[in-house]
Symmetry: C4
Subunit: 256 residues, 4 copies
């Protein structure tokens, strides 16, 4: 099996960029926050990533034009008072399967080594299963210094309470082994809808931590769009009684 | 693991052939349409494809003789007014597993590169879960020009409504990355039987798009055959209470 | 991942041996029949086969001594009036996963190429889900000549009725591509117990086809032993409420 | 896919060390016993092991600092009257998937070959599904001499009663093929909580077999800690209605 395909669009030089991972997850909290950051600060895409471990499908997007399953790397230069550089990893999917998850994260981090990343943040949601009034942001860190830094910014640390599954956990863990100081920010969210408020809570905390400013005004709008798309997809799936083309692969393979 | 095995039967020269994919899927809509096209226009098989990712089984066919799980490539030369060449991908199965699906589609498309394909159509069914009166054909495209072309032929575009899963989606997506203009035609079908009428609807739309003529008269007959075979297989499965030899592999592996 | 490990115990020369596959399956029909043939005709083991795709476990056998998951090759020389040579493939497991099944069968068949096999029989059970009075043996073949040969021996051919899953199907299919004439004999069996009578029916039909004689007298005894072992294992599993060490891997991996 | 990553911390020379495997399993029986042995006898870590087949996640540990999924090798020198050397394999996870389990065990055993191991013990729990009054330790062995040795120490042998699944079984089986004399000790435990008493029973039997002394006084304390951590994790999972970030990967991958 071929490894992850990383297509470089622009060779870019960055100074100790901070890496931010926000692939799709619960409530789309991390993704909404990172996509906002990309739009509001006008980040530039410099690489596209494909993997055999992405779901074997395409999305039907605007006006019937399809979208490939993809991860993308964006950069930002000289942001905020600290003139900080950033690399953001976003996309419309994560790898499937244990080895897929691992291989994609590892290959991306290997590619990023040349940028000499010293700090990373991974963004995700944490489902409560019930309405959330106060959108708390929970944190975990790859070292005690970063844990301390989170506490100073009023981020409640999780402790001895299970795992962080998927890319947000794997990047943090692989980073820990490379002495990249990292944190995972997890926004509390009911878990059953696209949650702009939780994304806003994360984005505010992240801006504080990074000492930058990001306008969160369009988050509602963005969440609304995603919500509509999701509703339409779900409605379509229900109409099909969950019997869409995914069955092709599993159920009808028996007859020639 | 070895890659996809592509056994060339005939080295053939084709002029910018249009690629048509129609592996088995929901309601057998795509497969019925493509098999008709192969028979009616007398296409020639030029390659047989095997994969470790095909289901680990054989079919019992006519008179007790088995059939391997297989994908096949056929060609057609100088068809219709435009003297158009075609390559058709058909078979009795699709790959299982995420990586299997990906690897097979990628390897086939890699092999096909030498034919300089500029256009592709992938055919499938889309299940409604209830009786379908008017067999609508829905479409999605890999670029807006093709989307426009579909609309001109009264094919309703899907929009922002989920995915196209399996080979029909993957080929379109991989093609998009290679600048192959493509479309997926999806025939509405209840989803729980072999649907010759939906296949006919697809075949009529496809003929229009391709500016060729294909007799759809034998589609009913063909669907009837497939239906009988399927019924017999299902009846046999019921008699066995779903306890056929597939259990060998899973349930009885524990005792020597 | 490393390929199948085939450890040769004895380099043996055989003349166009007939290959017989009988890995564990429904009702242990094929396995019982082949193990009898090995014992009664005093076959010699000449190779042991291991695979990363076998279940990740060992069996606890007689007196607390473990058995590895294994496939084994035996040979027989100058058997019956025709002085026919044989290779038998038996074992206590089959590969798991699609690719595992495929890779193991392919690697074994690749190794066996040097023996210039022209005929193969694969043995299995076919579950009826209800008591079986008359132990019918069903057949399928890799070519019409072999199908005819089965009919001449009063073996009812299956026709257009689904698949043969697992090693019995795969060997037949891979053999078909190598022009090895093959048949699968499937003994009807309820499917929920070790069925010596169905194994006997298979063994009688197989002996006829091969023009050899095999004493089936000890089949009952052999089935009884397997039955006891299976009962004990099931009882133990029930006592554990299905909560044996298999859970280790899945459920308790979350806490360090 | 890359193989198991074994990072050597200290190059160590040992004289025919006895190998002890105790990766997490049912009731954490083996793990608790081995962790006690490591602490009480002050073992030294000499290697860290990572695998693409470990679950794609990290744990949130003490004070919000994450822990990677890991296996670890420790050594002990000149222990007990016999001045025996030991290698212990412990960790917070086992490999997922059939091939993962196999590859990790095989790679570790390959690495350990240079130590010329002649004896191994694998430790695990065996779930009863109901309260256990008398914490019996059951055994299985890779040869009859070891089986005899277990009986001499009043360890009841399992016999013809199913399998030993996961690393405890695989190491024993791979060892058997390398003529490493081995035994699996399985402590009876209800299976639904962390069982310090079963771990104590194992540790006592193991000490007897090894002719060493290990203080079991702190086992209760250790079990209590693990119990608390587990309860917290489960409580958190329940709050989330089983809808934690694991869903990210599976359920929300469809929308970009």
């Amino acid at each position: 099996m071929k490894a992850t395909e990383i297509n470089i669009i622009e060779e870019v030089e960055l100074e100790n960029p901070i890496f931010i991972e926000a692939l799709p997850g619960i409530g789309h909290v991390g993704k909404l926050a990172a996509d906002s950051m990309i739009d509001e600060l006008d980040a530039t895409k410099f690489a596209e990533i494909y993997s055999p471990y992405f779901p074997p499908q395409v999305f039907v997007g605007e006006d019937g034009v399809i979208e490939n399953m993809i991860n993308e790397l964006y950069y930002l230069k000289d942001i905020g008072e600290d003139k900080q550089d950033f690399i953001l990893l976003v996309g419309n999917t994560q790898g499937l399967s244990t080895e897929g998850q691992f291989e994609i994260c590892k290959d991306i981090l290997d590619y990023l080594k040349k940028f000499d990343i010293k700090t990373m943040y991974t963004l995700g949601g944490i489902a409560t299963g019930q309405p959330v009034e106060n959108h708390k942001v929970l944190g975990a860190a790859s070292d005690s210094k970063m844990a301390e830094y989170l506490k100073e910014h009023d981020i409640e640390l999780r402790s001895n309470d299970g795992g962080i599954i998927g890319a947000s956990g794997l990047f943090l863990g692989l980073g820990q082994r490379l002495n990249i100081s990292g944190a995972c920010l997890m926004g509390e969210t009911p878990g059953y809808f696209i949650d702009a408020e939780s994304a806003e809570a994360i984005l505010i905390k992240l801006s504080n931590l990074l000492n930058i400013e990001v306008d969160t005004g369009k988050l509602d709008e963005r969440a609304e769009e995603t919500r509509k798309m999701l509703e339409k997809a779900q409605q379509m799936e229900q109409e099909m009684m969950g019997k869409s083309t995914s069955q092709d692969v599993d159920d009808l393979r028996y007859i020639g």
